[in-house]
């Protein structure tokens, strides 16, 4: 069930009513409902692996208790490393088994051996990248005596399976989440309304901007794999539109997850903080997919850079490269993701060497416009990220390199992609919407999400007019996209 579907809306309404009207007695009953709802949610998405999820919850819960019970020593380490191997092993098997074997086989075959390998038909449990990371982080924190393992099995399982975040994150930390659900949640009007506004904004990002950008990016990328249909400038546009697409898609989804959770008076961590308003790569990664980056920094980069600290800047560079290699690999079992990660890691090197730091966490805090330097900084960063996004999108390395080659060798200004008048019109409208979107984001960049404060001080009619405008834009986008297919199809005969 995706968030932007009718099925989910019905599901959410049901859970909301049950949560606040039926299971409202105490924290325990509320959690039971959330857990059951989350299990139902997961089963509707992928029932085959619900037992895996449950097993993961139980095993990690008890492992953590065993670890904390023992003093430092062999047995404790045994429990700890078993837990890590179990979780990592799970991830490696389901997600990366075929990839690793295939890569070895390819490597072997370079030496002339003619081995062939038929990938195993391994189904991927939904959300596995997210929940295994949550468990690994939990075990590490318990092992480091940073947190006490919880004795609340119900709470722990609710935390693990929590439906707003189970499929696409954020990667929530136990210590931030559990305390919230161990108290009885009282309905909060302000928070619920805030949640609805955040959901609306997330829906807008996803359906109006991301899906429309996806249409353009898909056309350009899909054809570029086999042939060279488009000019270099169109390919550049393809990369830019794709970057906007993944930002709006993922941050929109994260906004919805956050907003949905607020309806239950539970806060989950914000995954994005306007990353494209950063002027350097460090800032960017502190604001993009925050829960993943901070997980990687806490559990990979920090220990790694600590071990390598005697190599000073070189140590830092190696640590960053390895960390980002993992960031890339986490996204998928493909060399393209590894290159994506490494490239981003390389982008850090100048900053590490120069030792410069960000002067302001929020760009141009308090002021309305940027200086020319800051603006070009943001624009340059956007271009840099778009370049790595080509690898993210490409189906394989060959596709990516062909894309770059075609992009550089054909940099003429032609609009070959855009054919009929109404296509041009819809692209211009889309561009206009994107510009307005970025202006709204800019104005709201000091908030949790762009429209967090927008209109709160207005009179109700005006504020509601804004809501209806956004809703109509969403409906409009669905209608426009829906009618597109027909046009293509009919022209075939």
């Amino acid at each position: 069930m995706v968030f932007n579907s009718l099925n989910f809306a019905v599901f959410l309404l049901l859970v909301f009513i049950l949560y606040w009207f039926v299971f409202k007695k105490n924290a325990k009953t509320q959690n039971i409902l959330l857990l059951v709802a989350s299990i139902v949610f997961y089963c509707m998405a992928d029932w085959k692996f619900i037992f895996l999820l449950a097993a993961s919850g139980f095993i990690n819960f008890y492992l953590a208790k065993f670890i904390a019970q023992k003093k430092e020593g062999k047995i404790r380490s045994l429990f700890f490393f078993s837990g890590i191997i179990l979780n990592v092993g799970l991830l490696l098997y389901f997600k990366y088994f075929n990839f690793f074997i295939q890569s070895f086989v390819t490597l072997f075959n370079y030496s002339g051996a003619g081995i062939s390998f038929t990938p195993f038909h391994i189904l991927l449990p939904l959300g596995i990248s997210f929940f295994t990371f949550q468990m690994i982080g939990y075990l590490i924190d318990v092992n480091n005596d940073e947190i006490e393992p919880t004795g609340d099995l119900l709470g722990f399982c609710t935390y693990l399976a929590y439906f707003p975040k189970i499929l696409s994150g954020p990667i929530e930390r136990v210590q931030k989440f559990l305390p919230q659900i161990q108290k009885k949640r009282e309905f909060d009007y302000g928070m619920a309304v805030d949640g609805l506004r955040e959901i609306l904004w997330g829906l807008f990002k996803k359906m109006v901007i991301a899906d429309n950008c996806a249409e353009i990016a898909n056309t350009i990328f899909n054809s570029s794999a086999e042939s060279t249909l488009y000019s270099g400038s169109t390919l550049v546009l393809g990369a830019l539109f794709y970057t906007i697409q993944i930002y709006c898609d993922f941050s929109g989804y994260s906004d919805m997850a956050c907003g949905i959770s607020k309806l239950f008076n539970i806060r989950i961590v914000n995954n994005f903080a306007f990353p494209f308003f950063s002027t350097n790569i460090r800032d960017f990664w502190k604001k993009w997919h925050i829960s993943l980056t901070s997980w990687m920094m806490d559990y990979i980069f920090t220990p790694l850079s600590f071990i390598l600290r005697k190599y000073k800047k070189t140590g830092l560079i190696i640590s960053i490269l390895l960390t980002f290699l993992l960031v890339g690999l986490w996204h998928g079992a493909n060399w393209t993701f590894i290159v994506f990660g490494l490239l981003n890691g390389f982008y850090f090197i100048p900053q590490i060497l120069k030792g410069s730091m960000n002067k302001n966490k929020i760009v141009v805090k308090g002021r309305l416009t940027t200086s020319l330097k800051e603006f070009f900084g943001m624009f340059g960063l956007f271009i840099l990220i778009s370049l790595t996004a080509v690898f993210f999108r490409a189906e394989n390395i060959g596709h990516a390199t062909k894309y770059f080659y075609d992009m550089l060798s054909g940099l003429i200004y032609s609009w070959g992609y855009v054919q009929t008048f109404d296509l041009i019109l819809s692209k211009i409208v889309l561009l206009g919407v994107i510009i307005i979107f970025f202006i709204i984001e800019w104005l709201g960049r000091e908030q949790e999400y762009a429209i967090a404060q927008l209109g709160l001080k207005w009179k109700r009619p005006l504020r509601w007019a804004m809501y209806f405008a956004i809703i109509f834009a969403i409906i409009f986008a669905i209608v426009i996209l829906g009618g597109k297919e027909q046009q293509f199809v009919y022209f075939q005969f």
Binding site: V193, F468, I471, V479, I480, G482, G483, E485, Q492, F493
Partner: protein, 342 residues
């Protein structure tokens, strides 16, 4: 909480009121004529029309008449099949043949099979049949989308009824259509931009209410006889072709095979006298030999006729109204050849 619920309810009610006009306008106007039943789909007195889903016209005409008319001979295919005239076909059929044009725009092998299955379920005989194929039909094993090509709900046991009506409503709302439609309603004139994508048309689609045969070609044939048809505008559409023989990719994959088996089973059951004709398309792309061989193996060498590629029909542009449709005399000659033995 009470405040929250009250606010939400008021908001939703307000939204409903704001949105209401559009569905109401749609239901009242019924531009695509899929909500109410009509005696005629196209009003002969009008100056322009919304292009109606041909599958829907064919299906509703069939349902309206089959009990009385006892059809037993069918011509199926996409818009190209319309130019196989019943008067030409009847010459090759036994005397008691009652013919029906069961065509659809953008027909798919999926839709074609559904039509035959529908006829079969109604307990009617399928004594004679012509299937007019091309790569487009053969490769399309799934129903098409969009208001011009979506399949009628009756043919699929009403399983797509919601999708069907939502498609029309949604296509009604697309700015391009809505604007064109309102403009036409107000001005009464079909302007050139409205014809793009066949949303509105200014030529009157005549068809027989019983046989569902289209007669619009009469006007065009007249025009050709008077040397008025092939205007520079129309001529410019006839692109030049290569002399190298080109083959289309394989259309018949696993799914398509299953559907074709299904069609064969129906023909076997009814002991149908059928002919399969691969259209002589202007693009001169020959059907993939694998596809042709499959069809011949399944339906019989004597029942499958391939007119695709470079031949006397496809060479001359005058055999076509425009690159997508060949003229009735081509179909007539093909019928003569195909039934030649008799």
């Amino acid at each position: 909480m009470k405040k929250f619920i009250k606010t939400i309810i008021v908001f939703l009610l307000l939204g409903l009121i704001l949105i209401m006009p559009l569905p109401i306008i749609y239901l009242v106007l019924d531009p695509f004529k899929v909500i109410k039943t009509y005696d005629t789909f196209y009003d002969p007195n009008a100056k322009g029309w919304v292009f109606i889903n041909r599958d829907y016209i064919s299906t509703t005409t069939f349902i309206k008449n089959y009990k009385n008319e006892n059809y037993n001979s069918y011509i199926l295919g996409n818009s190209r099949s319309r130019f196989f005239r019943i008067s030409d076909w009847e010459k090759h059929l036994p005397l008691n043949s009652k013919c029906f044009h069961f065509d659809a725009n953008g027909e798919s092998i999926y839709g074609l099979h559904k039509k035959l299955a529908y006829i079969d379920k109604r307990g009617l005989e399928i004594k004679n049949a012509i299937l007019v194929f091309d790569y487009g039909i053969l490769s399309q094993d799934k129903p098409r989308t969009g208001h011009l090509t979506i399949i009628s709900p009756e043919l699929v046991n009403n399983s797509n009824i919601i999708d069907f009506h939502l498609t029309f409503f949604r296509d009604f709302l697309t700015p391009k259509f809505l604007y064109a439609f309102l403009d036409f309603k107000i001005s009464g004139v079909v302007k050139p931009y409205m014809k793009e994508g066949d949303l509105l048309i200014n030529w009157y689609p005549v068809f027989d209410p019983i046989s569902n045969e289209s007669f619009d070609c009469y006007e065009w044939e007249d025009s050709i006889r008077q040397n008025k048809y092939y205007t520079p505008g129309r001529l410019s559409k006839f692109y030049s072709r290569d002399t190298i023989v080109k083959y289309s990719p394989i259309a018949i994959k696993e799914n398509q095979m299953l559907i074709l088996y299904g069609i064969y089973e129906i023909f076997k059951k009814h002991k149908t006298n059928y002919k399969i004709i691969i259209s002589p398309l202007y693009d001169q792309v020959k059907i993939n030999q694998f596809d042709l061989q499959f069809l011949k193996n399944l339906f019989g060498e004597n029942n499958v006729y391939d007119y695709s590629g470079i031949n006397k029909y496809t060479k001359d542009y005058k055999n076509y109204y425009e690159p997508a449709h060949y003229r009735p005399h081509v179909a007539r000659e093909i019928l003569n050849e195909v039934y030649g033995g008799k």
